[in-house]
C-alpha cells in the first residue's frame, strides 16, 4: 500500500486526466487505490481541484443578440443556394421541351416588360401627394448618387414571377401564362407566397446577366416607393432600404452601424475613400452579404409591384419596414447605452453628447439624419478604441455623402481615426482631401497640423515642413477674425 516512488510519478501523470474524468476505469481505480496512502499525490490533486473550483465562479456571459438574425438568414440562404434551385430550374425546362421553350420566351418578354415598367417613372410617383416636405438638396444629391448604383441585391427583386413558377413546378404553364403579360398586376402566386424561399439564390443566378436591369430597376423603384408611401416614416424607410439596401435613410445604419458598422459602410467606402480599414473592417464586412441579402429578400418579395401597383404590396412592405425600424433602433440604442459607461473613462460629458444624438436619431421625426447617427456610432467605436472600425464607418459616410453639412466634421474625424489606427498614409491623404474640399473650414488648421505630423511620421519631412508653414500662415490669418473652437459641428 505504501507508495513506491516510481508509482508516484506514474500516478502524478494520471492526476490531470483523473481530475477531469478522462481516465478509463482501470486507471481510475489505480489512482484511487494510490491516493489514500500518498499525501503528496493527494496534495497535488487538491491543489488542482482547489484552483478549478475557484475558477468555476467565472460567469458565462450570454452571447450577444446582435448578428444572430443575420447569421441565421445567411445560413438559410446558403443552404438554399447549395441546393441549387438553378439546377432545378434548368431541370424543369429540360423536362418540358416545348413548354420550357415557351416559358423561356414568356419570361424574356416579362423581363423586357419589367424593364420598361421600371425605367419609366411610375405614374403614382409623380401624382401622389406627398406628405413630406420637399427633399433637401443634400437628400436629393444622395438619392441621385445612390439610385443608379447597380447592386446585386436589387436583382433579388427581379425574379418574382419566375420563382412563383418554380415553386409550383407541377403546373408551370398556367401560372406563367397568367403572370407575364401584365407585370403591373403581380402574379397572385408571388403575392401569396410569404417569402419565396428560392428567391435569392435564383436571382443570384441571374445576377450577372441582369445587373444593368437591376440598376435601372432600383432607381425607378426607389423613387416610386419613397414618394408614394403614406407616412413619412414609412416612406423614408421604404425608399431607403429599397433603393440601396444600405438604408441610407433608414434604420439600418443606426442598428447595423453599431452592431457591424462595416456592413453598412465599408462597401461604399472602397471607391472614393482612401481608408483601407485594416483590422476590424474585414471581419465586419463579412456580415454585409448576410445583412444585405436578408433585406433584399424582404424587399424582393414586394418590390417589383411597388412602383406600379400601389394597392397591396406597398402596405405590406411598409408594415415590415416600420416594425424592423423600431426593433433595430431599439437595439442600437441599447447597445450605445451599454457601451457608453465603458467609454466614459474621459469625462462623461463627451460621451453623453453622441449618446443623446443617437437617441434623437431614434425618434422618427429625426430619423432622416442618419448621417448624425452613423457619425455618433463611429465616435462610439473611436471611444472604445476601435479606430480602424471607426475609420471604416467614417470612410463610408464621407464617400456616400460628401456634401452633407457635417461631411467636413466626418472627414476630419476620419483622418484622426485613420491616424490612430496606424493608417498614416491614408490619414495624410484624408487630411489633404479635407483641405481641398473645405479650405475655409475653421478646422483647416487642425487638418494641417495632423497632416504635418503624419508626413513627418512617414519620413516626408520636407512636405511636413511646408504643411507646417502653411498652418502657421493660416493661423496668423485667422487670428484676427473670430477664433473658432476646435470641433464645433455645424448645425
Amino acid at each position: 500500500m505504501s507508495p513506491a516512488l516510481p508509482d508516484c510519478s506514474r500516478i502524478d501523470e494520471l492526476l490531470l486526466d483523473y481530475a477531469y474524468g478522462e481516465l478509463d476505469d482501470a486507471r481510475r481505480r489505480e489512482v484511487e487505490a494510490h491516493l489514500p496512502g500518498c499525501p503528496s499525490c493527494r496534495g497535488a490533486l487538491a491543489q488542482m481541484q482547489g484552483t478549478r473550483s475557484l475558477m468555476r465562479a467565472l460567469p458565462q456571459e450570454p452571447a450577444p443578440q446582435a448578428g444572430l438574425e443575420s447569421l441565421l438568414d445567411y445560413a438559410q440562404k446558403a443552404a438554399e443556394r447549395r441546393h441549387s434551385p438553378a439546377r432545378r430550374w434548368r431541370g424543369l425546362l429540360a423536362a418540358l421541351p416545348v413548354g420550357g421553350l415557351l416559358a423561356a420566351l414568356l419570361l424574356l418578354v416579362t423581363r423586357q416588360k419589367n424593364l420598361e415598367e421600371v425605367v419609366l417613372p411610375p405614374p403614382q410617383a409623380q401624382v401622389a401627394p406627398s406628405p413630406r416636405p420637399p427633399a433637401s438638396p443634400a437628400e436629393e444629391k444622395e438619392m441621385a448618387e445612390q439610385a443608379p448604383q447597380p447592386r446585386a441585391k436589387m436583382l433579388y427583386s427581379f425574379n418574382n414571377n419566375s420563382n412563383a413558377v418554380d415553386d409550383r413546378a407541377d403546373r408551370p404553364l398556367p401560372s406563367i401564362a397568367s403572370a407575364p403579360p401584365a407585370p403591373a398586376k403581380p402574379s397572385p402566386l408571388a403575392q401569396s407566397a410569404p417569402r419565396p424561399p428560392a428567391e435569392s439564390s435564383k436571382s443570384a443566378v441571374a445576377a450577372d446577366r441582369l445587373s444593368a436591369v437591376g440598376g435601372a430597376r432600383s432607381g425607378g423603384k426607389g423613387s416610386g416607393s419613397s414618394l408614394t408611401g403614406p407616412s413619412q416614416l414609412g416612406l423614408l424607410e421604404g425608399g431607403a432600404a429599397d433603393r440601396d439596401g444600405q438604408a441610407a435613410l433608414g434604420a439600418a445604419p443606426v442598428s447595423k452601424a453599431d452592431r457591424k458598422p462595416m456592413a453598412v459602410a465599408a462597401e461604399p467606402a472602397q471607391p472614393a475613400a482612401p481608408a483601407p480599414a485594416r483590422s476590424a473592417a474585414p471581419a465586419r464586412r463579412q456580415l454585409a452579404p448576410a445583412a444585405e441579402a436578408a433585406e433584399a429578400d424582404e424587399v424582393g418579395s414586394v418590390a417589383p409591384e411597388g412602383a406600379a401597383s400601389a394597392d397591396k404590396a406597398p402596405v405590406r412592405y411598409q408594415v415590415k419596414a416600420e416594425s424592423d425600424f423600431y426593433a433595430e433602433r431599439e437595439m442600437a440604442k441599447k447597445k450605445v447605452e451599454r457601451f457608453a459607461p465603458a467609454a466614459a473613462e474621459p469625462p462623461p460629458a463627451p460621451a453623453a453628447a453622441p449618446r443623446a444624438e443617437a437617441k434623437a436619431a431614434s425618434r422618427p421625426s429625426e430619423g432622416a439624419d442618419l448621417f448624425a447617427a452613423r457619425l455618433s456610432m463611429a465616435q462610439a467605436d473611436a471611444r472604445r478604441g476601435e479606430h480602424a472600425a471607426a475609420a471604416a464607418v467614417l470612410a463610408g459616410l464621407v464617400a456616400e455623402q460628401p456634401s452633407h453639412p457635417r461631411a467636413a466634421e466626418a472627414l476630419l474625424l476620419l483622418a484622426e481615426e485613420q491616424a490612430r489606427a496606424g493608417q498614416s498614409e491614408a490619414a495624410a491623404a484624408t487630411c489633404a482631401t479635407f483641405l481641398n474640399r473645405h479650405p475655409a473650414d475653421p478646422r483647416a488648421s487642425r487638418a494641417l497640423a495632423l497632416r504635418a505630423e503624419l508626413l513627418q511620421r512617414l519620413g516626408r519631412s520636407d512636405e511636413a515642413a511646408r504643411v507646417r508653414a502653411e498652418q502657421r500662415r493660416l493661423d496668423a490669418d485667422s487670428a484676427a477674425p473670430a477664433p473658432t473652437p476646435a470641433a464645433a459641428p455645424p448645425p
Binding site: G50, R52, E61, P64, L72, A75, R82, L287, E453
Partner: protein, 207 residues
C-alpha cells in the same frame, strides 16, 4: 429538430439543406464560443466580431463538411484560428500605432472590463467580489495556456480534442493545462485568494 440529435447529425442535416438544424447548432454552441472568444481576446467588440466570423465560416464550409471530427472541435478550431490571426494583426497594429499613449481607449484592466456591471445581482457576494480577480488571473496566463484551460475547464473539450483544436500533441496540451492551473493558483494566491476558500475545494473530483 429534436434536441436529442447529435451535433454531427444536425450539421449533416444542415448540409443537406435544413436551416433549422443549423439554428439548433447555433443555439447550442454560440454562447460557449462567445465566452471562449471573450476571454481569449479580452475585448467584447472583438469577441462579437470573431463570433460572427466563426459562424459565417461554419456556414460557408458546411458544403464540404464531413463528420470526421466532433462538431465542437471543429467550431473551436475555427474560432481559435480566427482569434490567433486577429491577435497577430492587433499586435502588428499596436506596434504601428501613431499614438502609443492612446492605447486601446479602454485602460481598465481586463478583469474590470469583464466584470459586467449589468450582470444579474449575485446572491453570492463572495463570488462576485472575487470574479474580477479570476478574470485578471486568467488574462495573465499566456495565450496558449489560457486557450487550453478555457477549452477544458469552461467548455468541456477533452484533451485529445484540444490537441486537434490547437494543433499540438496531446501531451503538450496536458502540460500546458498543468502550467495553467499552477499559474492560476499562484496568481490567485498572490491576490489573497486561496483554493481552500472554496467550499467544495480540495475534496471534489470532477466526473
Amino acid at each position: 429538430m429534436s434536441e436529442s440529435f447529435t451535433d454531427e447529425k444536425l450539421m449533416l442535416a444542415y448540409k443537406a439543406g435544413d436551416a433549422r438544424a443549423f439554428e439548433q447548432l447555433v443555439l447550442r454552441h454560440r454562447g460557449s464560443v462567445f465566452n471562449f472568444l471573450l476571454r481569449m481576446t479580452g475585448q467584447r467588440q472583438r469577441a462579437e466580431d470573431l463570433l460572427q466570423e466563426t459562424w459565417l465560416k461554419v456556414v460557408r464550409s458546411a458544403g464540404s463538411w464531413e463528420p470526421k471530427a466532433k462538431f465542437t472541435t471543429w467550431v473551436f478550431t475555427i474560432a481559435r484560428n480566427l482569434t490567433t490571426d486577429s491577435m497577430r494583426r492587433e499586435s502588428y497594429r499596436k506596434a504601428e500605432s501613431l499614438d502609443a499613449s492612446d492605447k486601446d481607449g479602454d485602460e481598465r484592466s481586463l478583469g474590470e472590463r469583464m466584470a459586467s456591471p449589468d450582470a444579474a445581482p449575485d446572491r453570492q457576494a463572495h463570488a462576485a467580489a472575487v470574479r474580477p480577480s479570476l478574470e485578471r488571473a486568467l488574462a495573465a496566463l499566456p495565450a496558449e495556456q489560457r486557450e487550453v484551460f478555457l477549452l477544458r475547464e469552461c467548455h468541456g473539450v477533452a484533451f485529445k480534442e484540444i490537441a486537434e483544436v490547437t494543433g499540438v500533441p496531446e501531451n503538450t496540451v496536458k502540460s500546458r493545462m498543468r502550467y495553467a492551473l499552477e499559474g492560476l493558483r499562484k496568481q490567485l494566491a498572490a491576490m489573497g485568494i486561496e483554493g481552500d476558500m472554496a467550499e467544495d475545494g480540495a475534496a471534489t473530483v470532477a466526473r
